[in-house]
Amino acid sequence: MKRETTRRKIVRTFLKNRAALVGLVGAVMIIAISLMATVLSPHDPIAQSMGNRLKSPSRTHLFGTDDYGRDLLSRILYGSRLSLMVGVLSVGLGMAAGIFMGVVAGFKGGVLDNIIMRSVDIFMSFPTLLLGLIVLAVLGQGMFKLVIAIAIAIAPRFARLSRGSVISIKQNDYVDAARTIGMSNARIMFGHILPNIIGDLLVMGTLWTATAIRVEASLSFIGLGMPPPDPTWGGIVKQGIEFLDSAPWISLYGGLAIMITVLCFNMVGDGLRDIIDPKLRS
């Protein structure tokens, strides 16, 4: 009964936050659009038509065309699938790895905690983008390599947060009780402690999804993302740079797609964080 009330309170607080609500609606719409990209795209995103090079936005090509005569709207719609997939998968993977390290470090303490957390500190000293870049240099190009590179850059953040949470709750009576009845460490860590800290971690996951999408776009912009001809938002922006004076729409629409998506996820994450940390509520 109490659980239901708390849940309802959380939903009510979230719905009262207009910015978070707008972000949620936007994020849901973007996810829906990406899922229906094949249906919604008016043209083939990789079909070249040299007679249609650098056409400005018109009825036939709502966002114009690129230097290979490809329809930009279709490329952006298809690009959303990759951006969202990389964003969600890399955060999921980074979260899982980070939480595992953090929970074990916080619960076990001692030398293991020191080794894990000092390694985490070193990884965290590198800016996310640079760490992603060097890992991608090691792994090479491809979607799953992109996911792994971003996940490695993100995991230390979750390790630090989950370790802190575990340390603050591992002295609770229910943990002592579980120990007393002979429950295994793994069951206590992942069956009892983890469910109590997962809320904060999921909120952080939403915020990091926004960052992951931005990092993916940046890596694609550098040329280390998906190899051509598959469309990526970062790749579209990079491609348009050469034509900023004659066809500025290429980079602008690509950039706008990244910005709106990241903004929506940030707004949702902010709204969720406000619920969990009332001190930050403005």
Binding site: A19, G234, M259
Partner: protein, 313 residues
């Protein structure tokens, strides 16, 4: 304070060593053979073997590691695998451009972001507050290359006021400044968004504190309460955040250098990744990592200076 500073500097040394180790290991697991990258896939077995020997790649990994650390501490970063130039020479040619970009972006972000954040807190829930908060949320969401492109379209293509690309002549201050304005603002706007947000929330928290209420209750003028009591305390978390976000800005400068086709370590790193020049890659990454350690060190020192209540033990 002096002991704290010395201790903090000493802690930075093992951190730097650990980072050097990480960079060394990451670069060593790159799947392709650097000797083949240099000679091309048609090279004979003998020439590849000879080059691997010349590059020291046939020696045990721990020997390569200790040599790397030893050389680094003696300022010898080796030579580029691609153009054979000493890496110190390559880095010193581009380092001033990266430094001026990162420092000016941090300064722009701090100088504009702190007063804006404080102002938004003082005008809480007004039109200006809402507009400022939307600006900072957009700033947090926009990648550095998008702000760069928008600025290029506005100031280089539309009104032809500032150059689109390049870093300017290294010996000509005016030319460098001219080339720096757009990239610095494109990064600075992002830094400003972060700092505005933190300065606003920090100022709001301080304005609600008991000692500020007491100062107002005893009849002090509002301006004096803000300037003498609230501002300094509100700035403490802002300083630590400037350090954290400076590392982020240093990372984003890689992208800005590409957008504006500026010389810099970022461009050097990307070139090294594409050409598999792992000597340049490891040295450039090491320099970046050292920057981050230095920024964190300076942040910690200034944090201790701003807040004397911090226990240095």
């Amino acid at each position: 304070m002096f002991t704290y500073a010395i201790r903090r500097i000493l802690i930075a040394i093992p951190t730097l060593l650990a980072m050097l180790t990480l960079v060394f290991l990451l670069v060593r697991v790159i799947p392709s053979d650097p000797a083949i990258s240099v000679l091309g896939s048609y090279a004979t077995e003998e020439t590849i073997k000879a080059l691997r020997h010349e590059m020291g790649l046939d020696r045990p990994i721990y020997v390569q590691y200790f040599e790397f650390i030893w050389n680094f501490t003696h300022g010898d970063l080796g030579r580029s695998l691609v153009n054979k130039l000493p890496i110190v020479q390559l880095l010193s040619g581009v380092l001033p451009y990266t430094l001026e970009l990162a420092i000016s972006a941090i300064l722009i972000g701090s100088i504009l972001g702190i007063p804006l954040g404080v102002l938004l807190a003082l005008k809480r829930n007004s039109f200006w507050d809402y507009s400022g908060r939307i600006f900072s949320l957009v700033g947090l969401s926009v990648p550095a290359f998008v702000t760069g492109i928008v600025l290029i379209i506005l100031f280089s293509i539309k009104i032809n006021l500032l150059p689109v690309s390049g870093g300017g002549d290294l010996d000509d201050f005016g030319s460098r400044l001219h080339h720096l304005i757009l990239p610095a603002f494109s990064l600075g706007i992002i830094m400003m968004a972060y700092i505005t947000r933190i300065a606003r929330s920090s100022m709001l928290e301080v304005l609600g504190a008991d000692y500020v209420r007491t100062a107002t209750a005893k009849g002090l003028k509002n301006r004096k309460v803000i300037a003498k009591h609230a501002l300094k305390n509100a700035l403490i978390p802002v300083v630590s955040v400037i350090g954290t976000y400076s590392a982020l800005i240093i990372g984003s400068s890689v992208i800005t250098e590409i957008v504006f086709n500026r010389p810099g370590i970022g461009n050097l790193i990307v070139g090294a990744v594409q050409q598999r020049d792992y000597n340049v890659l490891q040295s450039s990454m090491t320099i970046y990592a050292s920057f981050v350690i230095l920024v964190n060190l300076l942040t910690d020192l200034s944090y201790g200076f701003l807040n004397p209540r911090i226990q240095y033990d």
